[in-house]
Amino acid sequence: MIQDLAPELAPKLAVDLGLNLEEYGKVVAILGRTPSLTELYMYSLMWSEHCSYKHSRKALRMFPTEGPYVLQGPGENAGVISVGDGWAIAFKMESHNHPSAIEPYQGAATGVGGIIRDIFTMGARPIASLDSLRFGSLDKPRQRYLFEGAVAGIGGYGNCLGVPTVGGEVYFEDAYEGNCLINAMSIGLMREENLTLAVAAGPGNVVLLIGSTTGRDGIGGASTLASQEFDEKAEDKRPSVQVGDPFEEKLLIEACLELLQAGLLVGLGDLGAAGLTSSASEMASRGGVGLDIEVTKIPAREQDMKPHEFMVSESQERMLAVVEPEKLEAAQAVCTKWGLRSTVIGAVTDTGRFIVRERGEVVADMPAATLAHDAPMYDPAMTRPDYLDALQTFDPDSLPHPTAPAELGDVLDRLLASPNVCSRQWIYRQYDHQVMLDTLVLPGSDAAVLRIKGTPRAIAVSSDCNGRYCYLDPYVGAQIAFAEAARNVACAGGRPAAITDCLNFGNPEKPEVFWTFHESVRGLSDACKAFGVPVISGNVSFYNESFGKAIYPTPVVGLVGVLEDATKRVTMAFKDAGDVIVLLGETAAELGGSEYLKVVHDMVAGPPPALDLAAEKAVHAALLDAIEAGLVKSAHDCSEGGVAVTLAESCIVGGLGATLALDDDLPAVDSLFSETQGRIVVTCGEADAEALIGVFSGYEVPWSVLGEVGGERLVVEDKLDVSVDVLRAAWGPTLERLVHGETIQSEELREG
């Protein structure tokens, strides 16, 4: 008979483990008795925010999840889209913010490891990763340590696996100082027929644990665990940091894909948050079956581990497979060939109950589906934060702005040297971004392009979110996150197919925070609907706060687009002198939330740029048509820093200057640095200019011919005249210098 906890102690332990008393009551009602220690641990983890989405699930129903490309929407380990000829792409993004704030290298590394397991669990070979990062200002040593460590960890893990890290984004804002964000996205490729679901089925089948040993890693990580009163004997405070072993993961990828290919598995699940409890209960509930697990069979890394420790350990690099008994030997042979441990730890039953035993004795016994599905769902209160009024009514025109070309050139230098704008090469130089030979457009352009070998196709991928905009207006900010990702992908020639997201917010139990969450989800949903692009996977990370202050609302969008013809891909670099420069879209006076305001006036205020979804969509469509017609030599969208930064970047990476005029009727600062959405700087050969404009004229989009590529200076009539070498010197080495603790002297940026 199960050893229950003392009824008077159990509720207290439940609270320590992160359940509230009502939730505890629900556990008692399900079981019809006081839970055992193991059961309480299992419920508390499965019903935690992280596993149950209890505060977010209702809002997430706003997302459109269906579309022509979708093979598998949200709900599985990753979403899957079809990309033609029987090829499918699985992808998902996930956060590893809190572990990374404690130990940036291992936190980021295991974040990459975790999301990659989600991908090969689906039967897909991981082919690319992206990383989306947020830190405080690099003036602070701690922030440099976090940034440097996280980048090294992402590289260390992905490089070892041989999965290229092809893109990402990074912002440095004080709002993230106490709570950095480390979001990782993984993309996998498979044949459609190999799509595998994490489901347990077939009573009598065995449950096989593959991969690393189980230690006490991660126990006590998220929730406040192990209060002394309940531990029989005081134990030394154990570190909860998980150390990643990318080598083991590499073997897991190869072995699992081989097992699936050979048809040796009924189901496959990865062990992520809440470890064995989560993957086993989800697999069981999907299959409508029960499981019977013996913890002493689990290969332990440490001595005297308790059943609940086995069940909730977050030791990395482990997979759970369900295997028919007659295929067990063959399955284990594959594991052995790859040098992996594989151990039968239990069996599938027809009872629907999740039973955990220690040396045969039952220590937990509950309806399996209740762990995964019966967590309470909340409708959190929401209130629009008061601070928004003051922020949104701020008028950037009320500030003094430079007007002389020399001053404006200086501002451009400073913007290019801003950590939020400067070259990211310091980061992606540490990532193997070429292995597998499919990265046709390397990091450094708007979107990375990866070919699908054996087909004419490629995918273009980008991850984006300007948290500042989301802070100033979460509804618009979230739409812009989508629009920018789609625009980046369009600039490479990709038509958006689907997105994943990682929604990073503060404490959802605070009505003001929850409002920003709800508005962001609404904004993202509306943008997706307007573009007909579904959300196929995602992740919510709440409680990103420090000292009671939430981060900027940060709904990161990871978008995958498809190029039917990989040879049509486009990069942002200017190509040849004499090429014609055309601006798609139209500039408005929108300095609210801009990098210019931040860098020059040290302000984050004003309304963010407006987003007209129909106009944005038309711009992308016009560009994509022109690209498909083979007319476009370069394309680069306007984002932080406005059209001036866009032009400067295309000059710098192309090694060419440009001479042009911006003939809007705006003040020079707006003209150059306004962050109006829906704008793309496009170039074409002189002979194609007419045809290009012909294509654009077929759409309801404003366009203007700005000038031409050439020379060694960026010259904007009446507004700017700067040497490209000087711009490069401002833009190129900033990150490396900042990481090494140097503050950049503006002297250094000027021509010597």
Partner: protein, 236 residues
């Protein structure tokens, strides 16, 4: 009919560039097949490639564990008989650990992993894998954390003398910067070396990454075509 040249590409646990070498060599028209690290039969292969990656996680030291794989004794025998062996990146590290090539590879100066395309200068050497003119500059990606080549001065002098230095990091114009051109701090800018006989060649850059005209350049092709031409000549 003469049999086409056949490359064998060894898979160690943790290798991750083996499929890239297969892709590149097949694209160039050669036969190319995997060899499992536990296998000991190299019959039928004309040239062996130890690919890049992180064999055994690069734990303890890069290449330290892989060198004891059963296949490595055969690779050594194959090389002794004059068979051509190429080690790329981790493969180079394995060859030095196995003492099939002189020197060792330490962590990069600056302790950062480096992935970027770099110019390399072709030196006059005995290397059978290279038929480029002395002084030619090729642009090839490097991708490693431990590419900082080291050997003692005596070994360097001997290698110079015997034409064992095959590639050096350089500036885009082929010159070497006074402070060194190696991004990883390699001694004397050394990027690739061969044995005295010239049949065993190890290099940190990844020629297989630049063989496909559809993706990122073709500067890596000569390394595979030259050995294939040599083998074909011998066979013919």
């Amino acid at each position: 009919m003469r049999r086409a040249v056949k490359f064998g590409v060894v898979i160690f646990p943790g290798s991750n560039c083996e499929q890239d070498v297969i892709h590149a060599t097949r694209l160039l028209g050669y036969q190319s097949e995997y060899i499992w690290h536990g296998d000991t039969d190299l019959r039928g292969f004309d040239a062996i490639v130890l690919p890049g990656g992180f064999s055994y996680g690069d734990y303890i030291r890069t290449g330290a564990v892989a060198r004891f794989s059963p296949v490595m004794a055969e690779v050594a025998r194959f090389a002794e008989k004059g068979g051509p062996v190429l080690g790329v990146c981790n493969g180079f590290q394995i060859l030095t650990e196995a003492h099939m090539l002189p020197g060792a590879l330490l962590r990069n100066r600056g302790l950062k992993f480096i992935c970027e395309t770099v110019p390399l200068r072709v030196e006059r050497s005995a290397c059978q894998w290279v038929d480029l003119a002395e002084g030619a500059v090729v642009n090839i990606p490097i991708n490693h954390n431990e590419g900082n080549y080291i050997c003692d001065a005596e070994t360097l002098a001997r290698m110079e003398d015997k034409g064992q230095i095959v590639l050096r990091y350089c500036e885009p114009d082929g010159t070497r910067a006074p402070g060194g051109s190696a991004p990883n701090g390699a001694f004397d800018d050394i990027a690739g070396v061969c044995n005295e006989r010239g049949n065993v060649f190890g290099l940190m850059p990844h020629p297989e990454r630049v063989c496909d005209a559809d993706a990122n350049g073709t500067d890596g092709r000569p390394f595979f075509t030259s050995i294939a031409a040599l083998l074909a000549g011998l066979a013919g």
